[in-house]
Symmetry: D2
Subunit: 109 residues, 4 copies
């Protein structure tokens, strides 16, 4: 019961707040902007715009998406991972393995 | 005048069809799906879903976006670049430099 | 004084063992193999081998290098970051910021 | 017989010069430097250097390796691909497919 809601968020205990709670509005604003970027890219393709210009916008959107990922990872390590490390060593092992898988996916390994 | 519209597309001559014309519907379908993925990620954040699950979906969307980029690059090399190489050596040099910049951006160099 | 040498490794306190100590031999073996891969790539270029085959080997070496990076990141989070989170909150903030910079560099943001 | 040796290089016809011939010394110098970087990283691990500093050097070496890849790709498109496009349409199709596979590997798709 001493666990603070902001940090002890897991897939199982999803009624609690996730690690990114304090930056939620920021992440949503970025994702909203990315959705607009993707829509803009579709419009460029519809309008037969030059391939290279379309590719430049795809690179920008991909980079923006990675920025959101890095922000969420930062929140996750600060919140969930270190909280588990502090209070529940058995659960921490699980968090480390999960984080490792996530980094591998982010780096496409 | 013997230039086919499908291949001789540049930023300047944008009234002509781009290299990706024959795959346009396919690219648009993929971009549409990605737009839906981004919207789904926003919904996950709104719903306080577990950080790692959000990150997994971001990796999937990023990969899907790169698939579109590789498809457009393939179309561009087959269309614009080789057409320039065949018919207009001076313009080809410009195309090669532009392609190189685009690859560097795609690889984030 | 209760800090174990294996976990409290920082740039300043570099007389202590780094987070990757227990996997040191493994990381060195992988790096050694990568050094051999790079030497092999040089030999391919010297021998005028086909561009695409050289590029395939470069992708393999790049991926192997990222595997070492992910292994070191995993060791770092398990060791240094969570130890700081447990015992020294002020230092933890510094570790989180440093980890974030490192992730951004790894993802080329 | 009118094919110039510098451009018509394939895996099968490997007695001819590859597309990167004119930049061979440059690519070898870069690869040599990267080999030294990898050796330096091994030394850092041997010396128990701080994890983050090792990771920073790995990112630098990975980026340098991608620079070689982009240089070789540029040479390949200018040489092999456009030459095939100009002189041998049947072979060009094969080159395009091969280039596409290579881009996918470089982007880890």
């Amino acid at each position: 019961m001493t666990t603070t809601p902001a940090t002890r968020h897991t897939r199982e205990r999803h009624t609690e707040a996730p690690g990114y709670t304090s930056h939620k509005a920021d992440h949503l604003a970025r994702l909203n902007k990315i959705e607009g970027q993707i829509r803009g890219i579709s419009r460029m393709v519809t309008d037969d715009r030059y391939c290279i210009d379309v590719l430049t916008q795809i690179s920008a959107a991909g980079r923006a998406l990675q920025e959101v990922a890095v922000g969420l990872l930062d929140d996750h390590v600060r919140g969930c991972v270190t909280d588990a490390a502090r209070t529940d060593p058995a659960h921490a092992e699980e968090e480390f393995a999960e984080l490792n898988d996530t980094l591998r996916r982010a780096l496409r390994l």
